[in-house]
């Protein structure tokens, strides 16, 4: 607060603040001037050599001795293709003369840039074309197959004019220089989102079709690892037709290889086979091969391509066909002459096997119509059965219902019988019958007495007979009730059993079965439409054709295919998969090992690309850095100079005031205390504060920058400079203590002493100049 108040007054503190402001301004101007002057000098020098930044777009280098012809041709091309373009001859270095071309803006397009190689292709002198258009950044190391994707993404970024193929790199033209940092960051960010997983195959383990293998691995990575992005970028995706052609050729080669006869040569006793050895067999020739003779028509020649662990050689027939291998004895063939016996041969002819298989298949195909008709008949029968089944089920269900009803009726009918006490009734009938019998006996006795009792006696006898009949009937009734109950029980059991059976029958999905049969019928209909004769003919043709492919034809064709494929830029020893960066090679390895079929591969993860500042841009960037360094160094020097010339006097006064009356204590404790508190003394705090403020401000205003010195280090460095100078302030700018004391004795204030005595007597500097206006005795 006190300090603020003093600042507001016409105080020495305010003088210091003003001094610092002026110092910072002067220092910044000085640092800026030095750095700008140096930068301007270097830039001008550079511009004299290669033109100003962005002045030219192309650099065309031609052999020095051809430059006269070249310049005419270049000018002609420019006039024809890029009217308005500017041509300038540049320096000649190491036998190459450079020509700079500045293109009108309308010609700065992706297509034109990518076609410039062709456009200037007719320049004599082995012209090489480079791009100089600025502002531009270059991304190198991008796999060919990833370039389109990357260019598409970059082209959508703000600040990007377009991206184009620049040889093996991607050039990115920016709309303006101030977008460079943002685009650079965005491209860096984009590159970091991806990685390229490289699968390297050792010699001998290369995949037969790296394109197909790469695609398969990428597919598996997407599906199994749930990756959003995985793509085989081993080859250049810009030329898809050729890619597919080469892929097809690879497949064709693999196909032919698969149907080439597999020849195995078992070496004779004492013979060691080597890869590349050739063996000759009699084949269809009339004579057995003999040493010293040349190969004749009909001989079969086998080239050993692989030696097994058992010493047997496996190879391909390069002359003749496996079908001609009658005698198994073979001879070494060297320099086209027959040599020593080499061993015996055995072979497997996949083409013949294929032919046989095709013949068998054609026979099978011929049976298809019959099979189809039979199947349809069976199917129709099945449908009929299903119909019967349904009606049968309905009848059974109805019968079961009737039976159950009958059972119920029987139960109802016999329920009354069951309640009758037939035994009591029978007993009463018996009693009545016996009583009647006694009566009848009586009457018969009476009849003897009285003949007219004959009528009643007959009537009574009839009644007794009726009673006996009734008794019999009751007995029968009893039996009937029992039978009715049995019948009911039987009916119930029948119904229960039938219901169980019906439940099982009902579980059968007759509708589903019907639907299946219907579908089957439909398919059988389709089957019947097959042009069986045509298929049979084709199969027969293939069966006849496959064996006709001779082994020597195959081996020669494979050689031609190999030569063509080798001419394409398809590295068989390496597959590159572009994927997101959130997966590591360990996670991908199982998929790769599985698809490759072995683990004899090396996996690497590499960046999708690297931003490569173009040489010119780099040069200007370095110049910018030099400018910043010069500004920074100048700021450091100026800060030190200002501290020495302007502030040491102030620091000396502070030190003197601090030291007045203080007796230096001795002993290690006092020394330790001095060391610990040494930084906190007034003049050092002042020096550090002024140094830090001035240097930081000058760095900011002059655009200073020192490599490896972070921004936080700038004030620290300034403080350090201030500290060092403060430590030597009295040596640098000794204060005439007696003059200060005289001033104090005269009643002068601190401000007056500083302005009239100390500063005028100090080192000549800015402070002295500024102080003059405050002095009363100038």
């Amino acid at each position: 607060m006190k300090f603020i108040k003093r600042l507001l007054r016409d105080s020495f503190e305010r003088d210091i603040v003003i001094l610092m402001i002026v110092s910072i301004f002067v220092g910044s101007m000085l640092a800026s001037s030095v750095s700008l002057t140096a930068n301007a000098y270097f830039s001008k020098t550079l511009a004299n050599i290669v033109g100003d930044y962005g002045e030219f777009d192309l650099i065309i280098s031609v052999r020095e001795e051809m430059k006269d012809d070249a310049v005419i041709q270049i000018q002609k091309i420019i006039d024809d293709a890029f009217p308005g373009a500017k041509l300038k001859e540049g320096p000649t270095l190491t036998g190459k003369t450079s020509f700079f071309v500045a293109l009108p803006d309308q010609y700065k397009t992706k297509k034109i840039y990518e076609d410039l190689g062709k456009t200037f292709g007719s320049i004599p002198g082995g012209a090489g074309i480079g791009f100089m258009t600025e502002p531009r950044i270059t991304v190198r190391g991008v796999p060919d197959g990833a370039k389109n994707m990357l260019m598409d993404n970059i082209a959508q970024m703000e600040g990007v004019r377009f991206a184009f193929r620049d040889g093996g790199s991607i050039g990115v033209l920016l709309t303006s220089l101030d977008k460079a940092t943002a685009v650079n960051s965005a491209v860096q960010h984009l590159l970091k989102q991806y990685q390229v997983i490289e699968i390297s195959f050792p010699v001998g383990s290369e995949p037969s079709n790296p394109i197909r293998l790469g695609e398969t691995i990428a597919d598996d990575m997407r599906q199994e690892l749930k990756l959003n992005f995985a793509q085989n970028v081993s080859i250049d995706g810009k030329n898809d037709d050729m890619t597919y052609a080469v892929s097809t050729m690879m497949e064709l080669r693999r196909f032919l290889g698969a149907y080439a006869s597999e020849v195995t040569v078992t070496p004779a006793q004492g013979i060691v086979l080597h890869k590349g050895d050739q063996a000759i067999f009699q084949g269809a020739a009339s004579d057995v091969p003999s040493a010293g003779q040349a190969v004749v028509q009909g001989n079969v020649v086998v080239e050993i391509t692989e030696i097994g662990a058992d010493g047997k050689g496996r190879g391909v027939i390069t002359h003749g066909d496996a079908g001609q291998l009658m005698a198994s004895a073979g001879y070494r063939l060297e320099k086209n002459l027959i040599g020593e016996p080499i061993g015996t041969v055995s072979y497997r002819n996949p083409r013949r096997e294929l032919g046989n298989a095709l013949n068998e298949t054609s026979k099978l195909v011929a049976q298809i119509p019959g099979f189809a008709q039979d199947a349809r008949n069976i199917s129709n029968i099945g449908l009929g059965v299903l119909d019967n089944y349904n009606s049968g089920m309905a009848a059974i269900e109805k019968t079961l219902g009737d039976v159950q009803s009958a059972g119920n009726i029987i139960q109802t009918s016999t329920a009354g019988l069951a309640d009758i006490d037939t035994s009591s009734l029978q007993s009463q009938i018996d009693s009545s019958s016996r009583a009647m019998g006694g009566l009848i006996g009586t009457l018969e006795v009476l009849k003897l007495v009285q003949a007219d009792t004959g009528g009643p006696l007959e009537s009574l006898s009839l009644t007794q007979r009726n009673l006996n009949n009734l008794k019999s009937t009751l007995a029968a009734l009893d039996s009937a009730a029992a039978n009715a109950r049995k019948a009911r029980l039987a009916i119930d059991q029948v119904v229960a059993s039938a219901n169980s059976t019906m439940g099982t029958l009902r579980a059968f999905d007759s509708n589903g079965a019907r639907s299946s049969l219907t579908d089957t019928n439909n398919r059988l209909d389709e089957l019947s439409k097959i042009n069986v004769p045509l298929v049979t003919t084709q199969l027969g043709y293939m069966a006849a054709a496959a064996p006709n492919l001779k082994d020597e034809d195959i081996s020669h064709t494979v050689q031609i295919l190999d030569k063509f494929i080798a001419g394409q830029v398809i590295p068989g020893e390496r597959i590159q998969i572009l994927t997101t960066s959130n997966i590591n090679t360990n996670a991908v390895a199982p998929i790769i090992f599985r698809q490759v079929g072995h683990e004899n591969v090396a996996l690497y993860s590499t960046a999708l690309g690297v931003i490569e500042p173009n040489a010119r841009g780099e040069l200007y960037r370095v110049l910018g850095e030099v400018k910043a360094i010069l500004a920074g160094l100048t700021a450091i020097v100026v800060t030190a100079v200002f501290l020495v010339f302007d502030h040491t006097a102030v620091m000396s006064v502070m030190r003197r005031r601090r030291k007045v009356g203080v007796v230096k204590k001795t002993g290690y404790l006092a020394a330790l205390k001095r060391f610990v508190t040494g930084l906190a003394v007034a003049e050092k705090k002042y020096g550090m504060a002024v140094g830090a403020i001035m240097l930081t401000a000058m760095f900011i205003f002059a655009g200073g920058g020192i490599p490896y010195l972070p921004w936080i280090g700038v004030p620290v460095l300034g403080a350090f400079i201030g500290l060092v100078i403060a430590g030597a302030c009295e040596k640098i700018s000794p204060v005439a203590a007696e003059e200060v004391v005289a001033g104090e004795a005269l009643g002068m204030s601190f401000d007056e002493i500083m302005r009239e005595i100390v500063i005028p007597a100090s080192r000549p500097g800015l402070f002295q100049k500024l102080n003059i206006r405050k002095m009363k005795f100038r």
């Binding site: 009356g661 004795a745 009643g747 009239e756 005028p760």
Partner: protein, 257 residues
């Protein structure tokens, strides 16, 4: 005019002034004497607080100097002239500007300060050297400029800190003459620290002898140097006698060798 009570000052373990007391009357010329390191200069510098005392009181014109704030202290210092042993002139200023400096800084307009400074220069006989830088003047002349600078304020109290100690013996006289003149007219009260015995004998109203930071004896020169009560006084007496004898013998042509 000036009363000092129990004034003390230590520099670390060294006791420079140890409870010193002194009274100085207006117009009085006091000569402070004693062996080197006895605390004379420290005492005289504490009076205008060029050195801050540790304890005690210094009453000047009714005010305790020790308790004064910065502003009041600076005002008081303008009332107390101080003549340094090393002259303490401002090297970049001319003799006249040195004399004017205090006046102008005190708020006086330059023209008035010029007249006053010139008058002070006249008193010390240096008008013709007014435009010379201190480095162009002899030691005696520089000290006379220093005296003129102190006189220009017309101070109520003049403090002299061994004004001739740094001077060539041949130049001492010109300074002592000026001092004697000032004392004679009693323009201001003077407190003089010096080893100049003749000056003390001739000019001092009182001699104050100090030893080990304390006043050991004080009195008029005739008392202190003729009948000293202290060892220091006795030694000064012996010194005076020795100087007088050797001077007399020398003047009589009776040198020892």
């Amino acid at each position: 005019m000036l009363t000092i009570n129990n004034l003390s000052k230590r520099f670390g373990k060294v006791v420079a002034v140890n409870g010193m007391s002194l009274r100085v009357g207006r117009g009085e010329t006091i000569v402070l004497m004693g062996p080197s390191g006895c605390g004379k200069s420290t005492t005289i510098r504490m009076i205008n607080r060029l050195i801050e005392p540790d304890a005690g009181r210094i009453i000047f014109a009714g005010h305790d100097i020790i308790s004064l704030g910065d502003e009041a202290l600076r005002h008081t210092r303008k009332r107390i002239g101080f003549v340094f042993q090393q002259f303490n002139l401002i090297g970049r200023l001319t003799a006249l500007e040195n004399v004017m400096l205090g006046l102008v800084m005190g708020g006086m307009v330059k023209e008035a300060a010029y007249e006053k400074a010139l008058s002070a220069m006249e008193k010390v006989g240096l008008v013709k050297f007014r435009d010379q830088k201190p480095s162009e003047l002899s030691g005696g002349q520089q000290q006379r400029v220093g005296i003129a600078r102190a006189l220009a304020f017309e101070p109520e109290l003049m403090l002299w800190d061994e004004p001739t100690a740094s001077l060539d013996p041949m130049l001492v006289r010109e300074v002592l003459v000026v001092m004697e003149e000032l004392a004679k007219y009693r323009a201001s009260t003077m407190l003089v620290v010096t080893h100049e015995l003749p000056f003390a004998l001739h000019v001092a109203d009182r001699i104050v002898l100090m030893d080990k930071g304390q006043v050991v004896e004080e009195g008029i020169p005739a008392k202190v140097f003729v009948k000293p009560a202290s060892d220091i006084g006795q030694r000064y007496k012996e010194l005076i006698e020795y100087q007088m004898n050797t001077s007399a013998l020398t003047l009589a042509g009776q040198r020892i060798a």
